[in-house]
């Protein structure tokens, strides 16, 4: 009977397994294989040897190193900032009664807006052209500060726009998760704390924070992974020639190696993708280790 049931079980799983196999497992293995095939020729589908040359090439490619640097700066700035800003906004939302629904809707709007459309809006806000200074620059000028070209100007200005944009884009989802986490904390805990004369800060630090720590942890993990995978946002802001703009990301580099103007190198792309995978895996493991101490599941 056990065997028969096993067979049935696999049969039911077959469609899902087929999809996962074709679209996930096979490409993953393929990427691994590509990354070790040296001198792979896209047209003839042949290669010259097997080794670590692709990795060595990618790691010595200044464009890749620039992409790694950009990605890390983006991650390190946006993940903590967006999470804490979302927490602050959620706390504020949670503490008001009137117009709460209205504000929740407003804060959630960016989530349902198209990335490229938002990117264009940001370009209009920040871009300096022959005809216009851009809205932000006009603002800066009114304070007596000289215009900065945020889109094609200095590196820090471009990085600022990118971080600003990224934080703005990821906020709605984080606020959504955190407001529901805050709302689900039993009011009795706060009442108990009040009766015992707990200060606001201590209540937040000792009760609220541990209670919502699973949600916070979830947001940090997905935030890290999402930021490491940043690409479409960068394209929306700076166009497709990211290497020239000096604003490429790791995923952008992978894409360029495959399909970009200098593309056609699946081996290099695969090697870069696997390096990204290693980085994300490492960061996630570190996150998990840190969370063991500080995240309280009920």
């Amino acid at each position: 009977m056990g065997k028969k049931n096993d067979l049935k079980g696999w049969l039911y799983l077959l469609p899902a397994l087929l999809f996962v196999g074709v679209f996930m497992v096979y490409p993953l293995i393929d990427v691994l294989i590509y990354s070790f095939e040296e001198g792979y020729n896209f047209a003839s589908q042949t290669y010259e040897g097997v080794g670590l040359y692709n990795y060595s090439y990618v790691l010595h490619d200044p464009y890749f190193m620039q992409a790694v640097k950009n990605t890390f700066i983006l991650v390190i700035i946006t993940v903590p900032l967006s999470t804490s800003i979302a927490l602050l906004i959620s706390l504020a939302l949670n503490s008001i009664n009137k117009l709460k629904d209205l504000f929740q809707t407003i804060f959630f709007l960016p989530y349902v807006t198209n990335t490229l459309a938002v990117g264009l809006v940001f370009m209009i806000l920040f871009k300096k052209t022959a005809y216009s200074e851009g809205l932000i620059n006009l603002l800066l000028n009114s304070f007596g500060i000289a215009s900065v070209d945020f889109i094609e100007g200095p590196y820090w200005a471009k990085m600022f726009v990118l971080c600003f944009y990224t934080i703005w884009v990821v906020l709605p989802f984080k606020i959504l998760i955190l407001t529901s986490a805050l709302a689900s904390v039993n009011k009795d805990y706060y009442n108990a704390a009040r009766v015992d004369g707990t200060s606001k800060w201590r209540t937040f630090y000792k009760i609220t924070l541990p209670m919502i720590s699973p949600s916070l942890f979830y947001l940090v993990i997905t935030g890290f992974i999402g930021a490491f995978k940043a690409y479409s946002d960068v394209v929306a802001l700076f166009g497709t020639d990211l290497n020239a703009a000096g604003m490429n990301t790791i995923v952008g580099y992978v894409y360029d190696m495959l399909y970009g103007n200098s593309g056609g190198y699946p081996s290099f792309a695969s090697a870069a993708a696997l390096i990204l995978f290693a980085i994300v895996l490492t960061i996630t493991v570190i996150n998990l280790l840190v969370s063991k101490e500080n995240v309280h599941y009920q």
């Binding site: 805990y189 009766v195 000792k206």
Partner: protein, 363 residues
């Protein structure tokens, strides 16, 4: 510390209908003596918990005043009232150990009241010993049984040595056996500390068994306050009579006429009052099987549960339940005649209520 409530009223805007105003607590006016255990009793939704929250300070009264001793605490926030509160679901912080939970209120003290680590530890241990959980100090709440969690919650409420201890439905989350144990524990802890304690319950047996005084509420209105046995023996209205006692009181349609109390055509006893229609409440223990007794019922069966023997009968005038339950001693001889059984009734266990306002009528 004695607690005085003066014309205390709390009104809410109804959750379902914004134009409707619900009076959860209506003109409460009573005094709770120092060092007593008080059971606040009533059916669900009668405003018991609201009353507790008002005393605690978690809710503000619409009107009226609350005094602890001679001090008017009406406007004081809960942390300045010196109350300990045990919540229905205990509200133990799940991520903290028992020790950290009990220490929590003490660690909140600041300025001149600030305690040293040693004192905090010592007092936490004392509180834990009082409720007999001092061996579980390093466990998390989810590693404890319901009864143990309950006791941790009491220890946390008591660790600041409050003048008033408030318990909201303290036994409702426990199973039957644990309830018995825990209510004795609450009694013992209250006696040992001498703290004025108010606990809310909808279970009359719970309230009757351990309280010095009980307060019976219905729909936001105080019905009766007094020693449990006295309230049981001398209910002021039909509601109190029906709410207290298990099995519940049997209620009959009756009349007062010719200076006598009648149920149907049976003259139960002499009764000097104006002729009128009344409700007659007869406690199950009022029935004495008696061949010459005045009260006739139709015999159904005898039920023996443990040490109680109850005779189950019916009577067309009974309005409380189809079955009339009479608790008698096991060796009582039954005078069953054509299916009719006769009782005489103990006068002290028979209560007469006006049909108009359901208040008690004394003969």
């Amino acid at each position: 510390m004695k607690i005085v409530l003066e014309h205390l009223t709390k009104k809410f805007i109804s959750r379902n209908n914004k134009n409707e105003i619900v009076t959860a607590v209506n003109d409460f006016d009573f005094e709770i003596p120092d060092g007593k255990l008080i059971g606040l009793l009533g059916p669900s939704g009668c405003g018991k918990s609201t009353t507790l929250n008002l005393i605690c300070g978690l809710e503000e009264p619409t009107s009226g005043k609350i005094y602890f001793g001679d001090l008017d605490v009406t406007g004081l926030p809960p942390e300045n009232r010196g109350v300990g509160m045990v919540f229905q679901n205990y509200a133990l912080y799940p991520h903290l150990t028992v020790r950290q939970n009990i220490r929590f209120p003490l660690e909140n003290l600041k300025g001149a009241d600030k305690l040293s680590k040693e004192v905090i530890e010592q007092r936490a241990l004392e509180a834990a010993k009082l409720v007999q959980i001092d061996t579980l100090m390093d466990r998390k709440p989810n590693e404890l049984s319901g009864g143990q969690q309950q006791r941790v919650a009491i220890a946390r409420a008591l660790v600041k040595t409050p003048g008033v201890l408030l318990l909201d439905e303290p036994l409702s989350n426990l199973d039957a056996r644990l309830r018995l144990q825990t209510r004795e524990q609450i009694r013992r802890i209250q006696k040992e500390t001498g703290v004025t304690t108010i606990f809310v319950t909808h279970d009359q047996e719970e309230a009757m068994s351990i309280s010095d005084y009980i307060i019976v509420m219905k729909a936001g209105v105080l019905q009766q306050m007094g020693e449990p046995q006295k309230v049981y023996n001398e209910p002021v209205n039909l509601f109190v009579a029906q709410f207290l006692g298990n099995p519940a009181i049997n209620v009959f349609n009756g009349q007062i006429r010719d200076h006598g109390l009648y149920i149907g055509e049976d003259r139960i006893s002499d009764f000097d009052a104006e002729d009128q229609e009344v409700y007659v409440g007869v406690r199950p223990e009022a029935f004495i099987p008696d061949e010459k007794g005045p009260f006739r019922c139709v015999f159904d069966r005898v039920e023996t549960t443990g040490r109680d023997t109850s005779i189950v009968t019916h009577n067309e005038n009974c309005i409380s339940d189809e079955d009339i339950r009479a608790i008698v001693s096991a060796d009582e001889k039954l005078n069953n005649e054509n299916g009719i059984i006769r009782f005489s009734l103990k006068p002290a266990k028979v209560h007469v209520f006006s049909k108009e306002d359901e208040k008690v009528i004394h003969g």
